[in-house]
């Protein structure tokens, strides 16, 4: 491979290699990302003897370069000569596993885990396992933390003597002086337990688990909670009570809120891991306590889990447990002092209705929904509104509509534009659930009012909201309710509102279809080409470009063309520019196939584009080279007539 093809093919590789040490980070990064190309050109022998030693010492580089390097090396096995030589990749990855940046280390560990699978059992013991040991007994905690992630991949494939050593190393790291290492060990405890023989899980892992779960640092203890999930799944039911539950109970009542938070956060997983019996006896009271915790962060985390927890309760007495144990706590949370707690609850509370059924929902949950709909915090109300679909399935949304409307109106007029933006996004959903009639009666005015909001983001969202509504309710509905109002704004004294008309037309034309577009919208757009504000005029050009594909060829020829040509000679530079853009686009659109071929052929296309001739103007990745039809026309000396037949589809294929 190397050099065989002559200088021509060497040159780009030479550049890549030189750029490995370029001063510009971006160039180094590019080179590293093409490391496989370099290795391929060098051949396996030189990759092993020259490239890898060089890379092993390149750990001074920027994080992003090191990250890319760590990732590349995970896929390098074939490039160093296959599994037989895969151990050559260990030295560079070992040095990357000791750098200070966690992301780089993690990536190096990920790659090490990947290539560990490509080691033969012998190589694993001869090369890989010693590396793990070196890292595990390294001077700096960065290397020891990296070691924690490697035990589980080599353990299953080594002899029993080595297994014993690995277990010993893991034990040592679990009681490391540095909390960083203990944390790394704690977070890999579950994973390691999974590959251990059950007897060792009991004799080795459980003591470690207990020790980590009562570590002096709460930052370590909280990670033991995660391990608890995996360990509990591994143990037979009868051992859970003695081996896991004491620790879990202790964690659920830990002095540190962060540990309790973790329990709350992992509650569903824990619940599945320990099974229904323990859930009933232990977890239900624990969950109640978490819902009543003194720290708001914990209550919020628990509140988030209410629905999932209830769903996963054993079905035989699910309803009874919820009604007598969980619901009372939930009722309290509805009037919690902390808004994060209330809003976490609001995001899941509606889900309870499917679990409890119609009667319970109406009797117990509905009052809670109504209270939350009136909550002072907009986020709470929004969360309720965004989950209306769950309730809709059980009791129908009508039950709520009386309270819903004031809530929506209030959010729609909230002083914070982000709140208004959030509620707009739920409009199509609400419209679907409430039906056309209710919408026309109550919500239509709101939707129209957003079009003239003083914040652009709201006007923009309102525009796309209209499109979604039209998609839902159909073109006829649009013609009767929306289009007249939108078009009416074309005469608004505020040019921003006039532009909104154009934006709406852009968005609606496709959904409304040719008829409405040609007959109702187009005349308004054309009329606006005389607007005194240049911004409006160039948006007219943009609109015409946009709605062109929807129009029939006659309208294009007789109405659009003169207006665009007029705009193309406008006194304003931007108007001119956008008008020409629109003309180019529409000419291309209207051109027949043969003409397009000629247009492309006459172009001095770059190689890349030649291969991509089937691209349309919208999808071509090189807009600067081939799709500027206006330039093309000049170069070809062609004057393209306007009177081409319009193709049937809006995206013509060559």
């Amino acid at each position: 491979m190397a050099g065989a093809d002559g200088d021509d093919s060497l040159y780009p590789i030479a550049v890549l290699i030189d750029e490995l040490r370029n001063e510009d980070v971006q160039l180094r990064l590019n080179s590293i990302k093409k490391l496989s190309t370099i290795a391929l050109a060098l051949g396996v022998e030189r990759t092993r003897t020259e490239l890898l030693p060089f890379l092993t010492d390149t750990i001074y580089d920027e994080d992003e370069v090191l990250l890319a390097l760590a990732e590349q090396l995970g896929n390098f096995t074939m490039l160093v000569g296959g599994p037989e030589y895969v151990h050559c990749l260990l030295p560079p990855l070992e040095s990357l596993a000791t750098v200070e940046e966690t992301v780089v280390r993690d990536k190096a560990v990920e790659s090490l885990r990947k290539i560990s699978q490509e080691h033969s059992p012998v190589d694993l013991e001869v090369h890989f396992e010693p590396l793990v040991k070196r890292l595990a007994s390294g001077d700096w905690f960065t290397s020891r933390t990296s070691a924690c992630g490697l035990f589980s991949v080599c353990y299953p494939r080594v002899s029993s003597t080595v297994k014993a050593e690995i277990r010993q190393h893991f034990r040592t790291l679990c009681s490391d002086d540095t909390p960083m290492v203990r944390r790394a060990a704690a977070s890999k405890l579950g994973e390691f337990a999974k590959v251990l023989e059950l007897e060792y899980v009991k004799t080795d892992i459980i003591p470690l688990f207990t020790a980590l779960a009562s570590d002096e640092q709460d930052s370590v203890r909280l990670l033991a909670v995660e391990a608890c999930v995996s360990i509990a799944t591994l143990l037979p039911q009868e051992d859970l009570e003695t081996l896991v539950m004491p620790t879990l109970r202790q964690a659920a009542e830990d002095k540190s809120w962060r540990v309790r938070y973790m329990v709350a956060d992992k509650f569903s997983e824990l619940q599945k891991a320990v099974g229904p019996e323990i859930t009933k006896n232990d977890l239900v009271p624990a969950f109640q306590n978490l819902l009543k915790d003194c720290e708001a962060e914990v209550r919020a985390a628990a509140a988030n889990k209410v629905k999932e927890f209830c769903e996963n309760l054993p079905e035989d007495n699910r309803e009874q447990i919820i009604m007598s144990h969980i619901l009372p706590c939930v009722k309290e949370l509805v009037s919690d002092t902390n808004q994060h707690v209330k809003s976490a609850l609001a995001s899941v509370i509606m889900g309870l209705s499917t679990i409890l059924g119609k009667d319970n929902t109406i009797e117990h949950l509905l009052p809670l929904f109504l209270t939350q709909l009136k909550d002072e915090c907009p986020e709470v109300r929004l969360n309720i509104i965004s989950n209306l679909d769950c309730v809709n399935e059980v009791i129908g949304i009508r039950q709520l509509s009386q309270s819903l409307l004031p809530a929506i109106v209030e959010l729609a007029e909230d002083a914070k534009w982000r709140v208004r933006l959030a509620i707009i996004e739920y409009m199509p959903l609400l419209a679907g659930q409430l039906g056309v009639e209710f919408f026309d009666e109550k919500l239509n005015t709101l939707c129209m009012a957003w079009l003239i909001d003083h914040v652009y983001a709201i006007r923009e969202a309102a525009t796309s909201n209209l499109t979604k509504l039209v998609e839902k309710f159909g073109a006829e509905w649009a013609q009767n309710t929306i289009v007249p109002k939108v078009l009416g704004m074309a005469n608004d004294p505020n040019y921003l509102h006039r532009m909104t008309t154009l934006f709406c037309i852009n968005a609606l034309s496709e959904a409304c279809g040719q008829e409405i577009t040609t007959k109702q919208m187009l005349p308004v757009v054309l009329k606006m080409s005389n607007d005194q504000v240049a911004n409006v005029r160039f948006n007219v050009a943009k609109s015409l470009q946009k709605i062109g594909p929807v129009l029939d060829s006659n309208a294009l020829q007789t109405e659009v063309k003169p207006v665009l040509e007029k705009l193309a000679s406008d006194s304003d530079m931007d108007v001119k520019y956008f008008a020409q853009e629109a003309i180019s686009d529409l000419v291309w659109l209207a051109a027949p196939k043969e003409m397009k071929v000629r247009m492309l052929a006459c172009f001095d296309l770059r190689g890349a584009c030649r291969a991509e001739q089937d691209q349309t103007p919208d999808t071509c990745p090189h807009p600067d080279c081939c799709w500027h039809v206006e330039r093309c026309r000049t170069r070809a000396g062609l004057s393209l007539p306007w009177s081409f037949e319009l193709p049937q589809s809006s995206t013509p294929a060559l």
């Binding site: 190397a2 050099g3 550049v15 490995l20 040490r21 966690t102 960065t142 002096e216 709460d218 809120w257």
Partner: protein, 533 residues
């Protein structure tokens, strides 16, 4: 007798390095290293000679100086005897003799504002010593390995790395200048071969990596080593660069910038024992950061009242407990220290403990509140005690007793009668820091007139030293200073009225393991160490 005059003078200050053209011109005088190892002089009782080699390159020799040196030398012996008898302070052992080791910084008398040292901090092994200055620079000194042929000398500290940590900025929204002055430096526990430190000015905290590089790649395909391009047609084989040894290079690179989280001026940063978070405190708030996350921090303490007119106290310092990752303390301008437990709640506005000494009604005066303001709080290495510094005293608190300190040491009680004038010249607002020695048996803090004080907790003894160029003879034993407090001034005493309030020692640091201290006078850094025999 083994006095200084009998031993070999090992490493020692030479005049050549005072010359300002060497470094001061290029990068600020602060970095100028005034000592140099290597020049060994066989010397018995050669005060004059050795002195001329230290001070005289800056100032021409003056006979009076020389004669006074002789006096000083004589006094030294006297004082030494005295210090033995009083079992002077030190690292637990009662007979530590402090002697001069090095002084860093320009020796001329006009001090550039940018060169004023604003913080001093040893790393966790004591091998590195960092200083920050008003010009936004950080200078790191590294301790040389101990020389084998001179076992009685500890390695000297020489410049290891110098970098511009902060630049002056302007906050356009608030029309405020942001000074580049380094308020605090904190070293991170070492995580790999490189060293990391946090430095902060009033608003922005930065994480710096200080690493060594001793190899560089060689060999290009398309150009020569000197940069000339080769004819691409001559490239017939590919060359992979190889790494060759080169002279050791120390690089400081900014790794993270933690900005935009403080409305007021940052007065403290402190790294947590969990090795992944740290706190930063300003006048009214304390934020908790993750060391790897710069775009968010958690506010854990906020004492800002809804109405700023009700503001009665500000946070003056904050520090994490050395090994309990959930505990931190912060001190206030009212002289109280609050201990917070992050386990109890995510927001620590409610303290767990409040340490406060009831005010002595007899001492109540207009200045009571000002002088009770705490300027520094430091946990002992053991984590059992903490030390606070207010204007006139150092107090040691047992974490288990909130009602009063277990020990109180007067730093310069003689200033109590001078508070009025100290108020007028703003000195009363000086923020003195304090530090513990390696085994928590001695504490040290600064005072005026370039005096610094040590208090031996076991022997209940205290001593005053002066950081001055006059003592800057290598390994010369520091002699304790005495201040006459009324009555008749004895011969070797200094009158309170003659103290120079412009010379103040605000920042001091104690090597975590050895009896080596770093004391910052205005723009000089003095390093003293105990005498090894």
């Amino acid at each position: 007798m083994g006095g200084p005059e009998n031993t070999r003078i090992g490493k020692f200050a030479t005049g050549a390095l005072y010359s300002s053209q060497m470094k001061a011109g290029s990068y600020g005088a602060h970095v100028t290293d005034v000592t140099e190892s290597g020049d060994t002089v066989e010397s018995n009782l050669l005060p004059a000679t050795s002195f001329s080699m230290t001070g005289l390159a800056v100032e021409p020799p003056r006979p009076t100086r020389v004669s006074s040196t002789a006096t000083v030398q004589g006094l030294n012996l006297l004082q030494r005897a005295q210090s033995i008898s009083m079992a002077g302070p030190g690292g637990g052992s009662s007979d530590v003799q402090w002697c001069f080791s090095q002084v860093k910084g320009a020796m001329d008398d006009d001090v550039a504002e940018a060169d004023i040292i604003s913080t001093v901090e040893f790393n966790h092994t004591g091998e590195l010593l960092a200083t920050g200055d008003k010009g936004g620079r950080v200078v790191i000194f590294q301790q040389e390995p101990e020389s084998k042929n001179q076992p009685q000398c500890r390695g000297e500290y020489n410049v290891y790395s110098t970098f511009q940590s902060h630049e002056p900025e302007f906050d356009y929204l608030k029309s405020l200048e942001i000074e580049e002055k380094i308020n605090k430096i904190r070293w991170l526990p070492q995580k790999n071969a490189a060293q990391f430190l946090l430095s902060t000015n009033d608003k922005t905290i930065k994480l710096w990596k200080i690493s060594e590089r001793d190899k560089r790649p060689e060999g290009y395909n398309l150009k020569e080593e000197d940069g000339r391009y080769r004819d691409p047609n001559t490239v017939t084989t590919l060359r992979v660069p190889v790494l060759r040894p080169m002279d050791l290079m120390v690089e400081a690179s900014p790794r993270r910038v933690f900005a935009n989280a403080h409305t007021y001026h940052i007065n403290s940063i402190s790294v947590n024992s969990d090795h992944e978070t740290y706190l930063s405190a300003d006048d009214l708030r304390i934020n908790l950061w993750h060391l790897e996350i710069t775009d968010r921090s958690f506010n854990i303490v906020d004492i800002k009242p809804a109405n700023m007119e009700e503001l009665t106290e500000v946070i003056t310092a904050a520090e994490f407990h050395p090994d309990q990752c959930n505990t931190f303390v912060y001190s206030s301008s009212k002289g109280t220290i609050r201990l917070c437990d992050m386990r109890a709640s995510a927001l620590c506005d409610q303290h767990t403990k409040m340490f406060e000494e009831p005010e002595d009604p007899n001492n109540r005066s207009f200045f009571s509140e000002i002088i009770s303001s705490i300027s520094d709080v430091k946990f002992s290495h053991s984590g059992r005690y903490m030390m606070t510094r207010d204007y006139l005293s150092v107090k040691i608190w047992d974490l288990n007793m909130e009602t009063r300190p277990v020990e109180t040491y007067q730093v310069h009680e003689y200033l109590r009668s001078k508070l009025c004038s100290l108020y007028e010249n703003d000195c009363i607002f000086d923020k003195f820091e304090c530090c513990w020695n390696g085994n928590d048996s001695v504490v040290m803090t600064g005072s005026y007139n370039n005096f610094f004080r040590m208090f031996d907790r076991d022997y209940r003894q205290d001593v005053t030293f002066e950081a001055s160029r006059e003592n800057s003879k290598p390994r010369s034993v520091l002699k304790p200073r005495k201040i006459s407090t009324g009555g008749k001034r004895k011969k070797d005493e200094i009158s309170v009225d003659s103290l120079d309030f412009n010379k103040k020692i605000l920042h001091t640091a104690w090597h975590p393991l050895d009896n080596i201290i770093a004391v910052a006078t205005t723009n000089n850094l003095y390093i003293f160490q105990d005498k090894l025999n």
